[in-house]
Amino acid sequence: MYKYKLLTILAAFFAFTACESLEEVPYSSLSVDNLYQNEADVDAALYGVYSTHNVSNHDLWYFLATSGPSESVVVRLKGDGNQGRLSSLSFTATDAHGVWWPNFYRMINRANAVMANVSKAGLDPALEEEKTAEARFLRAFAYFHLVKWFGDVPLHLEETTDFSDESVKKPRAPMEEVYAVIIDDLQYAETRLPASYISAEQGRATSGAAKSLLGKVYLNMAGKPLELTANYALASQKFAEVINSGSYALQSNFGDVFSIDNEFNDELIFVRPNIRETGVGTVLTFFAGVPQSPFANRNGQYQFGFTEYFYNSFNPEDTRRDETLLYSYVDALGREVTFNSPDNPALPFGGYGGNKGIGFGKLKDPFNDISAFAHTNDIIFIRYADVLLMHAEALNEQGQTTEALPFLNQVRSRAGLENVSTTDQAELRDIIKQERKWELAGEYVEYGDLQRWGDIEASLFLNEDAAVFNTVYSPAIELLPIPQGQIETNENLTQNPGY
């Protein structure tokens, strides 16, 4: 009797303690097993690759690492912050440009992940190639930034699936190898990507974008530091294909290129589309905005502007000047504001306690009541005028000065300037360079252009911030330093010389 009682109790004892599986099934996140089921899934994964370029306030550091180190841009904050150091080329390994190293490599890994998994969706082979081409375009886009900013960089061409040292601690690969991968990716992409997309998918990479980028890659390889001058011909060949495609045209009015009412216009070849939602808008408009200006109604931060020197460099006839620089305007309170005007000292335009720079006119979003961090201005990476000027540059460098002129003059005449007719290669070179500075000011090209031309030292003498920071030229500043944090986590990385 007693025995049975005990057994009953023991049975109950184990029954009460249910045995559940210890296997985990996450409720709120996806796994690779339930992704990549169809084309929509692959597209979502591709958008994930694109989205690596839109990270909180990193637009500021993107701007300051591309347009900042030039004579035309000046920053407001002259303290010991990142703004001044980037703008004055007093680079250090802990500066904020470093946030872009992870961003670019995140883009690369996500692109690699798409390439590794796209076949699971069972798409039509041509369509699958198109998706792979898009991933490869984005990978090339990221590597091109890396190689321009840092020189030799580690090459990761497979999706990261474990954190072994072999997987994550690769050393830097020579620039030539990186360029070879970029060219290979873009050549794959240019023949497989579509020429255009339906309106709901505008902003995705097109074959025109791939060709334009490939031309730009060749042009940069032909310039400093590699000086593979044979690539000028390859570059002009690609630009000619883009121009002859008839897909693109200049806007007749320069200001329309940047208007938020005219997005995805014919002049734009590759952009990052932004909308007024946090995470998919740009914060750059807020950082550029002048307080009380009618162009960014969320009390802009006015972190950077253009120099007075740059303003004065314009021909007064040039229609681009007053679109690019907010020299004088009527502010949100109806007051007339003129940069540095002695007539209205109460208005702080020009900076509290000193000249800080002329407001930035290419990013205007006056109606935003959503968020300071979510402006709709698209980030323009490549536009037709850029391609025309690069084409002119590539032709001129091959000695085809006469052939170069029409492309240069297309851009000039839109700006209301007279045609150039010189066929002196050196003279024309200087004219093209200056034309790029006027046309593309603040469009993330300045530092790269100076690198390619070997003009960084010359620019330094005109750089207002460099004067404040006493920046002395050294070959080190032809490249940005590898971010300190990356060197600390990967002992196989070496720092660029001079840092």
Partner: protein, 1016 residues
């Protein structure tokens, strides 16, 4: 005024009490053991009251009782308790019989209880009597200084704020270092949220022998909380009320209006800019003292009632408590209501005992200090109260300052911003024990713990981050549903009657942890009146999210206690934990421990020793774990993002993590050597422990080279160790019939050392934030835990530091060679030698946030009906980063926005006329201060944490059985060299990587409490 009123009221009550006293009778007598020896220190108490006394050295006592109906209870450890109705007697002499059963205090251990004398592990106990004499809001606060080996740091003085508890140091770098709380047998997540006055006992389990029964959750120590229960007999009703008035302990002296105008003029002149305040004298006597504007006298009141009693087979304890705490920062308040019902039922001829416990707590916290890290918009009102300029047009001004900078108004922050945090906790459990035989019993314990956490914040367009957002609101909801079922068998004393005694417990347990969360936020509020109660009004960017997680823990456990001749004790424990949080290759962990005890005092050679009553040596060894892994951390997961393709927000998939099939718990190996010594009839007691523990397989978020596409990963890497000693001394130096003095002192010292970091040479703590740049803590193999790390300022740059051509001759940082700027030590350079320039390589260890000693000293003095309790607590030898102090003591200019400064700095700053070399006083317009030795201060303190005077009215009233009145002071005296609000601070308290940082938290307060307890 209110204060005065209360003093008067108390006085009146005291007077009326004196009048009542005449009705009492005094009983006296002698208490002896059967052999005739006096029972020194035996307790005599009137039943149902707290009036009582203890017997003196001759066993004599004298006690006042309310009348002939009173029952006296005579108790003495190791002897049978006797109850006597007084009747008409005035003398009661008693011989108490020895009682082997009660020879010992019963100590609750995991899944059972044990006699104190049989305990082989390190367990310290705190009883409700120790706790009743101070004012506590939360359960985690009350252990401060009460138990050796336990460090309690409350992060701030905010009403309802929690505390950081470390038992025997930090075991982990990135994992959780907090102990496991077990309330009436139910392990709960986080720290308990209920009325501390419901607590009967707290046991702190410290060594591996005691904690191994909790396996993968035991490594950080276990705190067992036992709540009060009813006893058979007359229903007792206790009503209590107290009110506390509190004020800030210390404030900063900031520049007033005129001084500020002068300071700003000087700063601008220095930069070659026009003076902003051409006539400073016009601001004489003007300007806001923002500290005064946001601080007020805090008022806290607490009312509680409890009923307990029952019949022979059903007993109950029911309590309700309401707390309202309006802290010293305007706009902040903490209100909490709690209800508890504990029910005990016997059945089946006393073979079945069922305990039902229910506790509900709801708190509403109006928070004034939302943030103290983001700069400038969300630096928080305390930071802004110190730094905001005093000259603005009005108290409620929220516009641009004269120079066009945004003004962040601290007064509006505390009064206009609405930040509500509501917490609801329900804990219910049923424990049923059935005695299958005399020696074997079966226990079922099932419990639930439901938590709801709501936080709603509305920041209007006049405050901080609301300014740019045009008002912003957020709602967040968290729900937790935890279930636990345990079943265990207890075999008691199987070989009873022989020299061998064996007790064993074995069982199974299943726990489930469910969490649900959701959040939404938006901005742009054209109408602000409805605040966060209708965030749909906001037309700004909307952000919504939700999440759900489930974790499962399955366990089996076994504990065996063996004693030979009551002298040689052995305890062995093992627990197996299977956790869903562990990775697929490491689902099960096993945690064994063993402990040995030798009761030397029971040996025959000690029998004649009349001094030593108790001497026990203890040794334990074992392994415990810490499974502070979030759910799903070992899996390869994808998350989502969006991209604006085509101008439309479109869903995107992104890889979020890489699989780690080997992720597992942290393992802590601990040895403990202990000695318990009781002298002079145990009137003097020593408890000494030496411990050493080593934690391996540290869970760490390590940085992965970003070229992988990922930034970090959670891995098991590295180890740290803790080694230290603890000593507790309890004594009853005086015990006469009129006067007794009990005192307890405990002291702890330990060192936490980093042994290895899995290949990393060093790990840095987080950035300190708020205008101070850089990380401030370092973790390196061979070093102590979390040493303060930064630049070493050695003076200020003087004229003499320049050569004849005006070139600086000393190493400088960031090209800063201005006179009066900081001069730093050039420690090394890229080539391992000083390189003549100050860079991040020139940082070194500049302080140690770990105390050398922690001690607590409790004293309880009884004189007739008076009781005086005072409790002193100290932390000695720890350094604190006074980062807020440096921000207001350096005259620096940040983002062109000047900050107010202290008078101390302004009067002593470097000027050409006052070329000081004191690093606390750099010249005006100093650069943003990097983390350096000038912000390190000695954070040692000795605090009169609590002092309480109680008077018990001797009543002969049949309705009221006792009335006790008291005055309590909290934090009345703090002896410290620290210059900030208070040295006990941990702004980054949630982050184990950053101990001892003061970023300007809710200031701690000193309080005066008046209260009464009435028993019916």
């Amino acid at each position: 005024m209110k204060l005065f009123y209360h003093v008067c009221l108390i006085g009146l009550l005291l007077l009326s009490a004196a009048g009542l006293r005449a009705q009492n009778t005094t009983i006296s007598g002698t208490l002896t053991a059967p052999d005739g020896t006096p029972l020194i220190g035996a307790t005599v108490q009137q039943e149902g009251t707290s009036s009582g006394t203890v017997a003196d050295l001759d066993g004599n006592y004298s006690v006042t009782v309310s009348g002939p109906d009173a029952t006296l209870i005579f108790t003495y450890t190791g002897y049978k308790t006797v109850r006597e109705i007084v009747g008409n007697r005035t003398t009661i002499n008693l011989v108490l019989a020895e009682d082997a059963e009660t020879l010992d205090q019963i100590v609750v251990v995991g899944y059972g209880s044990q006699k104190r004398s049989d305990i082989t592990g390190s367990v310290s106990s705190v009883s409700s009597e120790d706790l009743e004499k101070a004012v506590f809001t939360s359960v985690d606060q009350l252990l401060q200084g009460r138990s050796a080996g336990v460090q309690v740091t409350s992060s701030s003085g905010e009403p309802g704020s929690g505390a950081t508890i470390r038992i025997r140091g930090n075991n982990s770098i990135s994992g959780n270092n907090g102990p496991l709380y077990v309330v009436d047998g139910i392990p709960i997540a986080g720290s308990p949220n209920f009325n501390p006055q419901d607590i009967a006992n707290i046991e702190v389990l410290k060594d591996a022998s005691a904690t191994a029964i909790y396996g993968s959750r035991g490594a950080n120590g276990v705190i067992l909380v036992t709540t009060k229960r009813g006893e058979s007999g007359k229903t007792r009703i206790d009503v209590s009320h107290n009110t506390t008035y509190s004020e800030v302990i210390n404030t900063y002296e900031m520049l007033n209006g005129q001084q500020y105008a002068e300071f700003r003029n000087e700063a601008n002149r220095d930069l070659g800019q026009p003076e902003p305040f051409p006539n400073p004298a016009e601001f004489a006597g003007q300007g806001f003292n923002w500290q005064d504007e946001i601080l007020e006298t805090g008022q806290r009141s607490e009312t509680g009632i409890s009923l307990s009693g029952g019949s022979e087979n059903v007993r109950f304890f029911v309590s309700g408590n309401y707390l309202s705490d309006n802290g010293i920062v305007k706009g902040s308040s903490y209100n909490r209501g709690t209800i508890r019902a504990n029910l005990d039922m016997d059945g089946l001829n006393d073979k079945l005992l069922v305990k039902v416990n229910f506790n509900a707590a709801h708190s509403q916290n109006q928070r004034a200090i939302t943030s103290s890290r983001g700069f400038p918009a969300s630096a928080g009102p305390i930071f802004n109260a110190l730094t905001s300029e005093p000259i603005v047009p009005s108290l409620t001004y929220s516009g641009f300052t004269g120079e066009g900078n945004q003004f962040y108004n601290p007064y509006l922050e505390v009064t206009e911003q609405d930040d509500r945090q509501f917490l609801t906790d329900l804990v219910a459990s049923t424990e049923a024990t059935y005695k299958i035989t005399d020696r074997l019993s079966y226990t079922f314990n099932g419990g639930v713990n439901f938590t709801l956490n709501n936080r709603d914040i509305f920041t209007p367009k006049t405050v901080g981050t609301g300014i740019n957002a045009n008002g912003q609101a957020s709602n967040s909801r968290g729900q937790g549903y935890d279930y636990i079922v345990s079943n265990y068998l207890t075999y008691d004393d199987i070989f009873r009657g022989s020299d061998h005694a064996l007790t064993a417990v074995t069982g199974l347990e299943y726990s489930e942890f469910n969490n649900y969360s959701s959040s939404s936020s938006t901005s742009n509020f054209d109408i602000e009146t409805l605040g966060s109660d209708n965030i749909g009004i906001g037309t700004g960017d909307v952000s919504v999210g939700s999440g759900r997680s489930l974790a499962v823990l399955q366990s089996g456990f076994l504990r065996a206690n063996y004693a030979f001749k009551d002298r040689y004790l052995l305890t062995a424990t093992i627990r197996a934990d299977g956790s869903s949080r562990f990775a697929e290759n490491e689902k099960w962990g096993y945690f064994p421990s063993a402990a040995f005890g030798w009761r030397v005092s029971e040996e025959s050679f000690m029998a004649d020793n009349s001094t030593i009553d108790n001497l026990k040596l203890r040794f334990s060894i074992g392994e415990t774990g810490s499974q502070s892994i979030g759910s799903y951390q070992s899996l390869a997961r994808y998350g989502t993002a969006t991209y604006g393709v085509g101008g439309i927000e479109t869903l995107a998939y992104i890889p979020a993590s890489v699989a780690n099939p080997n992720l597992k718990w942290e393992t802590t190996r601990q040895i403990d050597l202990g000695l318990d010594l009781g002298l002079f009839k145990n009137r003097l007691e020593f408890i000494f422990d030496y411990f050493k523990k080593t934690t391996v397989d540290l869970l760490q978020s390590i940085s992965i080279p970003s070229q992988s596409g990922f930034g970090g990963a959670l891995v098991n890497f590295g180890s740290i160790s803790n080694e230290g000693v603890e000593l507790a001394i309890n004594a009853t130096p005086i015990a006469t019939s009129d006067f007794s003095w009990n005192t307890g002192f405990n002291i702890t010292t330990y060192k936490t050392k980093v042994i290895e970091l899995g290949g990393d040479e060093e790990i840095f703590g987080p950035g300190l934030g708020v205008n101070v740049f850089g990380n401030g803590h370092i973790f390196r193999p061979g070093d102590e835990y979390g040493l303060l790390y930064g630049f070493n300022a050695i003076g200020l740059i003087q004229e003499s530091d320049f050569d004849g051509d005006g070139n600086i001759t000393v190493p400088i940082r960031n090209n800063d060679s201005r006179l009066g700027a900081w001069k730093f030590e050039d420690i090394t350079g890229p080539n391992g030698v000083p390189d003549g320039i100050i860079t991040n390589l020139d940082r070194k260890v500049i302080g140690n946030p770990n105390p050398d000693f922690l001690w607590g000293w409790n004293n309880d003095l009884n004189y007739k009906n008076f009781n005086l309790n005072f409790f002193v607590q100290a932390s000695v030898g720890n350094d604190v980063y006074n980062t807020i102090g440096t921000a207001v003591n350096s005259g620096f200019n940040n983002n062109e926005a000047y900050k107010n400064q202290t008078v101390d700095w302004y009067e002593n700053r470097w000027t050409p006329e006052n070329p000081t070399n004191d690093i606390r006083y750099p010249s005006i317009n100093s650069s943003s201060p990097p983390v350096a030795n000038y912000m390190v201060e000695d954070g040692s303190y000795i605090r009169l944490k609590n002092i309480s005077l109680r008077y018990t009215l001797p009543l002969a009233n049949s309705v009221l059985s006792s009335v006790q009145l008291y005055l309590t002071g909290t934090n009345l005296i703090t002896i410290t060299d620290y210059s900030g609000f208070d040295p006990e601070v941990s702004s980054l308290g949630g982050n184990s990587l950053a101990p001892g940082v003061d970023l300007g938290v809710y200031p701690r307060q000193k309080g005066y409490t008046f209260g009464a307890n009435v028993k019916f």
